[in-house]
Symmetry: C2
Subunit: 102 residues, 2 copies
């Protein structure tokens, strides 16, 4: 499993519209082959900051599969205009987790 | 649930020592009341970058409970000297997740 990670800075006046757009766009990424789950979370300390976490079967499922698909153009069109600046997307692999981790 | 989130920049020559130190220090934070699970992940794109994700029952379980405890001093002593610069710790709350999310 590889985790896609991005901290999203959303234009201040558009957070509600962004959440509404994401609520429908999440189906696009979730349907992509190798996508295990998608989480959007909201920052307690910064009102226009969000965290996107997506679990993929592999790095390629995201970087080649999803990003190379027509679905990605739809995802971009629905969401990218909310971001300022554009987020940095990175990938993370597990090193350690506590015994209680699910 | 509140997720503690920090991107950790570890001194370049000390990543192996950091991982070894974390492997024992994880027991300290995991034992803190309200700590559900702890994950340390390694960045694919940047060799000395890590992601710390900790699920807490509440914000206060982390900010008051753990940080106000003697255990936190031990956690700091074991790990903070590896970071350069010191990480920004934030907290996130769920907004949306895909149906496949666990």
């Amino acid at each position: 499993m590889v985790r896609e990670h991005a901290v999203l800075e959303v234009k201040l006046a558009e957070t509600e519209a962004f959440e509404n757009a994401f609520a429908t766009a999440i189906a696009i990424i979730s349907a992509s082959p190798g996508c295990r789950n998608v989480r959007l979370e909201h920052c307690v300390e910064q009102a226009n900051r969000y965290l996107l976490l997506v679990e993929w079967d592999s790095l390629e499922a995201h970087t080649q599969g999803f990003r190379g698909s027509p679905a990605y153009e739809e995802w971009r069109a629905r969401l990218h205009h909310f971001y300022e600046p554009m987020p940095t997307v990175e990938h993370y692999e597990a090193v350690l987790s506590s015994q209680a981790a699910s």
